[in-house]
Amino acid sequence: MPTNRKYYRPYIGPCDPCPPIRVKSYETPPQLYLGFQPYGLKQFDPSTALRKGTLWPALYAPYTNPYEPREEEE
């Protein structure tokens, strides 16, 4: 499974006034990779699907604020 978030290290100039963000990120959610959805993929049960916004775990890509990294992401 591809990751939903990618990271890169931008150039940090010596004269930039603000404290630098050394690692930047962008989102790469699953629809970029899935292609035509194959038959027989795993499904959430209906009530979970209604809560998550999709029936398909393969399309479920929760988002968190990248400026507040969760511990497991650090």
């Binding site: 959610p29 899935l34 035509f36 999709t54 988002y63």
Partner: protein
């Protein structure tokens, strides 16, 4: 013809008094990549797209109105108990002067909604690529809104809406694949 169900697609709760967030959320109400633009874009494109894709545009266009209703509910809840002074402090003074608490179709910076936000080129691939881009732009907008909120209930509703953009983008990408298929060729999965 539509049938209206008198409930929101997903519950909207607001746990923090934060009228400034309403100012930002309005981007998804009357902004270029907002839910109104999305609904009008898809429902309008239905007439000039190959038959196989019409149902998808109807379904997604209709759902966008359900999203619009969720955004409207959030904006309403965030502003309904704000005083004139609090509206001013939240950066909504200009809005208040013109509209009081009424919602209006404009973006976060106050630019009114315009039909120029949406395209209808008539070329099916062109229109579907526009739709995919629109879904990704709406997804990005939800990300930036989530980043600016610290209300877990608002974030919960916005996360649901963002996930729907992912699913819509996936379905539009599949629509492109359907149109790319050679006519009459047997599809093997």
């Amino acid at each position: 013809m539509w049938i209206y169900e008198k409930k929101l697609q997903y519950p909207v709760k607001v746990s923090k008094c934060d009228p400034m967030m309403a100012k930002f959320l309005i981007e998804q109400y009357g902004g270029a990549d907002g839910e109104l633009a999305a609904a009008l874009r898809y429902l309008n494109q239905r007439y000039t797209i190959p038959d196989k894709i019409i149902g998808l545009l109807t379904d997604i266009g209709t759902e966008e109105f359900a999203h619009l209703e969720m955004i409207a509910t959030m904006v309403y809840k965030l502003t309904k108990d704000a005083t004139a002074e609090e509206m001013k402090e939240a950066g909504l003074g200009a809005h208040y002067a013109d509209h009081d608490k009424a919602l209006f179709y404009h973006n976060a910076a106050g630019a009114p909604f315009t039909a120029t936000y949406i395209q209808a080129k008539g070329d099916p691939i062109t229109d579907l690529y526009e739709d995919i881009a629109a879904e990704e732009k709406a997804r990005a907008t939800y990300q930036w809104l989530i980043n600016m909120s610290d209300d877990p209930d608002i974030i919960d509703s916005l996360s649901f809406l963002r996930e729907r953009e992912i699913v819509h983008s996936q379905r539009f990408r599949e629509a492109v694949e359907i149109l790319k298929e050679d006519q009459g060729r047997k599809k093997v999965f």
